[in-house]
Symmetry: C2
């Protein structure tokens, strides 16, 4: 299908810690291997099983702050005492090459991307309920009770930002959530502003 823009679609995914973003993203990328998943930079310590350059580009505070000074981020934010940021150049190169780019960022970062890229599609992934989120965070067995408490409070704050997103996908069943994201991406590709009018100039 011919599209007016040659550029890829910028897709922003947010959602509270524990909502299952990683599982949803991993399933989505297995169905859509053409999407480039942007790996964020962070100063947070790797969790068990997280790999540098795959889950995140893990870096230290001094390096991150030097990158801020060189204006190398599309967005960056501080969250629970750690920096998270998205490299501007990598994203731009992919979009210019017509590749769809998926960003997983928290609500502050998403708001900054929205301001800089009005055409970005912002999707918020929500748990089916607060109780279910609490259950998932406890089930992860990676954080102590105080950290979980902090994440739950943070989740409530984040969910207040949902009106700033285009779409809300509720992650009850992963397959259903992924199907909805796929539908959103298909629909966005059908927007008249991106599609060539094939009867034009006849």
């Amino acid at each position: 299908m011919t599209q007016k823009r040659q550029k890829g679609q910028l897709i922003v995914l947010s959602g509270p810690s524990g909502v299952g973003k990683s599982t949803v993203i991993s399933e989505l990328l297995s169905e859509r291997p053409d999407i480039y998943f942007s790996v964020s930079f962070t100063t947070r310590k790797p969790r068990v099983g997280e790999e540098d350059g795959v889950s995140y580009n893990f870096t230290d505070r001094a390096t991150f702050e030097a990158m801020i000074a060189r204006d190398e981020f599309l967005e960056y934010a501080q969250y629970v005492d750690n920096y998270y940021g998205t490299s501007l150049k990598i994203i731009q190169d992919k979009l210019d090459a017509g590749v769809d780019v998926l960003l997983e960022i928290e609500v502050q970062g998403a708001a900054k991307v929205r301001a800089k890229c009005p055409d970005a599609v912002l999707i918020f992934i929500s748990p089916p309920s607060f109780e279910e989120l609490s259950r998932r965070l406890h089930g992860r067995h990676t954080d102590d009770e105080a950290v979980i408490e902090g994440r739950l409070n943070q989740a409530l704050l984040e969910c207040r930002q949902i009106p700033n997103y285009d779409y809300l996908v509720i992650n009850d069943k992963v397959s259903q959530a992924v199907a909805e994201i796929q539908a959103i991406l298909t629909a966005e590709g059908c927007r008249t502003k991106y599609r060539e009018n094939l009867m034009e100039g006849v």
Copy 2:
């Protein structure tokens, strides 16, 4: 999935004569029997195989003009010397009952619906090319050459209105067109404005 609105979604489909709207709609409705397909009123004569109350509510000019006088239409328009109109009351009752309603109307009518119902989803169905549209109209064997010529000219005018639509679906393969419409409806249902924030009020 809980939605903020109790009301159904109003879906407007337009596209030039011969693009295959009827086939697309019939396939869509067989996959989504929950959608109410609004049957328009028209003063045009039935084509072979068209049934009163199914394809259209066929009526005469005097009756149609009396309905206009009684303000009974959501929209109505004149097109190739015939009136086409959509009953306001039927649509409203369905939407209020939470039923999604599909309207097939031409571009003038769609613009009027947009003005009255800003939340309506407007989808334009386009042929893959002008040549293909001409081939389809000739293949239908229902109209003489002068009528086909008129339809092709009309199609060019209609396609200029594509920017007023939200989505453009190109009917190359019917199954693909229907899949895209389904994706659009799923995506529209995921819009944050229609979905309840399940973390609200915790």
